[in-house]
Amino acid sequence: MRKTIYISIVIICTALTVSVYHHWQRSRRTRLIICDVGQGDAILLVSHTTQILIDAGPASNHVSDCLAKQLSPFDHNLEVFVATHADADHIGGAQSVSESYTIENLILPFGGSDQASTAYDQLMAVSRSNIVNHSEVLASNDTILAPPFEMHFLWPSQNLPVGLYDDNQRSYVIEVQYHDEYMLFMGDADSTVMEQLIRSGALRTNYNYFVVPHHGSKNSASATFYATIKPMHAYISSGQNNPYGHPHPLVLQLLQRYHVPYTLTADVGDIVIDLDNQ
């Protein structure tokens, strides 16, 4: 009996050590994670104790699973949380995020929301709660430093006429730099925004990682844009059998035409890219 107890204790301790070591090892790596939140967007950037969340997906709470799986169980602090715009499939999960994580900097959607929505009201309630240390609205030319990441906001410009651009068109376009690697996240921006960005010269001519805007909607199918940014990898966050038909075949054709390999969260679940291993 005593022998059985000793063997059990050894097995338990080994299992515990392996589990914790596995988590610890993973949390040490610098990673870009495109969370599988169904039909919506949630992107995580993690490096040691720096944890950045861009959008929180829909209200279905899928983002909590991604955070639980990808972040250290001992670190409940998000250095930056950007709500790119007011659509429910981007900010619906904000409340569930706020239940478990404190937010150092909350970046609220530019120009608020076009119409009253529960998701937006909940986000504003979160911004007023004591779990958020600081909240603000940013615009192009603003930069957030969250070492080792640099987040450059490329869109919308400070003087953008809010009434002429809808929620999607006011999405933040964010370029994130990690050493010599560049990533581009565009929320639900469409081809109008893409054209203006090209004209402004704010975009680089090459991006390592690119999350296709608006889940691959045909509104974001701009050949000139893909020819300009020449992404090395593209990622599409869309739900399986979603009613909108995302990603649109036109977008997939464009990616193929420009030889951009792409991955869908609907096919593989959470996409985890180890930025130190590239």
């Binding site: 829909p58 699973d65 001992f74 499939d89 619906g92 478990s100």
Partner: protein, 436 residues
């Protein structure tokens, strides 16, 4: 024993009368106006991007479900509602509950003892959420507070795939734990008083986690056991078990058709009567292999958590007992569920005990409470890793759609006969040991 027999016969008669006078008060499609008490935590569901609370309430023994916006209703509220009511049919074709589509409703915050209880419960859930990551918090909230509101979609899927959803409820184990802790802590108080205080604490805990089948059954069982102890009577598992079932059926006959209630009942019966047979067989095999007599373990139901063997066999026993009900209602059985239940069985008490300690400490000092929860993290990591590992394997899933009700009844008849033979063999074996 004669007194027990009289109580049984009396209760059986009362249940039969209750079932005979049990008639549905509404017709399918009626428009009704009623007031419902939210007597357990509403479950959270997202429909078309909107978050709703699914509420199950009881009225005159009938189970009524309805859906309202999530942030408008909490445990303890009462709802004045008018709407169309329709009959729900279960997988086995028995009408046992109603669904209400509300046209108009007013939510009245609780004015009773449930208000402070509900507030205390919300506070505890919030604190657990802040101390642990979303999946870990959902596990602790489920096991300690019986709350499923913070369960995440992937954890939900994981637990369903591995057949372990039943561990995310406050159950008989929690009651057993509270009773033991109270009796130990109150050992300096006269026995009569310590038992009364314990009963009050059990009642408060039942209100705290929500008035649901498994916890109410366990509380009644604990209550009867403690009352028997108070009166200086010996404890009989079988009579207590039957009295519990009959008392509950007398209170809500509709529970006969409730799958959750059937599962918890079958699992408890499995723990009490199948575990000793499995342990007996296991010891006999060991004797046969090593060719020397093994010291027989004490096989009382109270001692099932004493050793790893007992934990393992009690888990398997519960799985065997619920097998038929699962086939009848879900039409499949998975080998993964037996494996996962055996592997996590020893983690559940640890998480429940430490989690309960953390929740109590949170009231006294948040920092210390939070530290206690941090101690749980490695165990919770291991818990989720075990389940993920099993879920990722393509275990053979027995498709038993062809089984009909008749075959399930045959399964249970066979099981009862096996259990009787098993217990007879244990009895004979103990007699022969005495003779030696």
């Amino acid at each position: 024993m004669k007194k027990y027999l009289l109580i049984f016969i009396g209760l059986i008669c009362l249940v039969i009368v209750r079932l005979l006078i049990f008639k549905e008060p509404w017709q399918d499609g009626d428009i009704i106006s009623t007031r419902l008490l939210v007597s357990s935590e509403p479950s959270r569901k997202v429909v078309n991007g909107q978050t709703y609370a699914t509420i199950w309430a009881y009225q005159n023994g009938r189970k009524i479900g309805l859906r309202l916006p999530y942030d408008q209703v909490v445990y303890g509220d009462s709802i004045q509602v008018q709407g169309k009511i329709s009959l729900l049919q279960s997988n086995v074709g028995i009408n046992h509950s109603w669904w209400l589509e509300p046209d108009t409703y007013t939510v009245h915050p609780s004015q009773t003892v449930l208000l402070p209880v509900s507030q205390a419960r919300s506070y505890a859930i919030r604190q657990v959420n802040r101390a642990l990551n979303p999946q870990h918090a959902a596990i602790v909230n489920g096991m300690v507070l019986g709350s499923k509101q913070s369960i995440t979609p992937r954890l939900d899927q994981l637990m369903r795939e591995t057949g372990t959803m039943h561990v995310l409820v406050a159950s008989g184990f929690n009651i057993m734990l509270i009773v033991s802790l109270c009796l130990i802590c109150l050992s300096f108080v006269p026995r009569r008083w310590s038992i009364v205080i314990t009963l009050v604490i059990v009642l408060v805990y039942v209100l705290f986690v929500g008035i649901e089948g498994p916890i109410v059954r366990s509380a009644i069982m604990a209550g009867i056991s403690l009352a028997a102890f108070l009166l200086g009577r010996p404890k009989h598992v079988l009579p207590l078990f039957l009295i519990t079932i009959l008392s509950m059926l007398l209170y809500r006959p509709i529970w006969v058709f409730d799958v959750g209630w059937q599962l918890s009942l079958a699992a408890t019966a499995g723990l009490i009567w199948i575990t000793p047979i499995l342990l007996f067989g296991y010891n006999k095999i060991k004797e046969f292999i090593w060719q020397k007599p093994i010291k027989h373990q004490h096989l009382a139901a109270n001692d099932i958590f004493e050793s790893f063997d007992q934990v393992m066999f009690s888990t398997i026993a519960a799985q065997i007992a619920v097998f038929g009900i699962i086939i009848l209602n879900f039409e499949y059985a998975s080998i993964a569920s037996i494996l996962s239940n055996v592997l996590i069985a020893w983690l559940v008490p640890v998480i429940t005990i430490v989690g309960m300690g953390g929740v109590i400490t949170m009231w006294l000092n948040q920092l210390i409470g939070s530290l206690i929860f941090k101690l749980l993290v490695p165990i919770l990591v291991l818990f989720t890793n075990i389940l993920s590992l099993i879920a990722n394997q393509n275990f053979y899933r027995l498709d038993l759609q062809s089984w009909d009700n008749y075959q399930v009844y045959q399964f249970y008849c066979l099981l009862i006969i096996t259990v009787l033979i098993g217990h007879y063999m244990i009895y004979k074996d103990s007699q022969s040991n005495k003779t030696i």
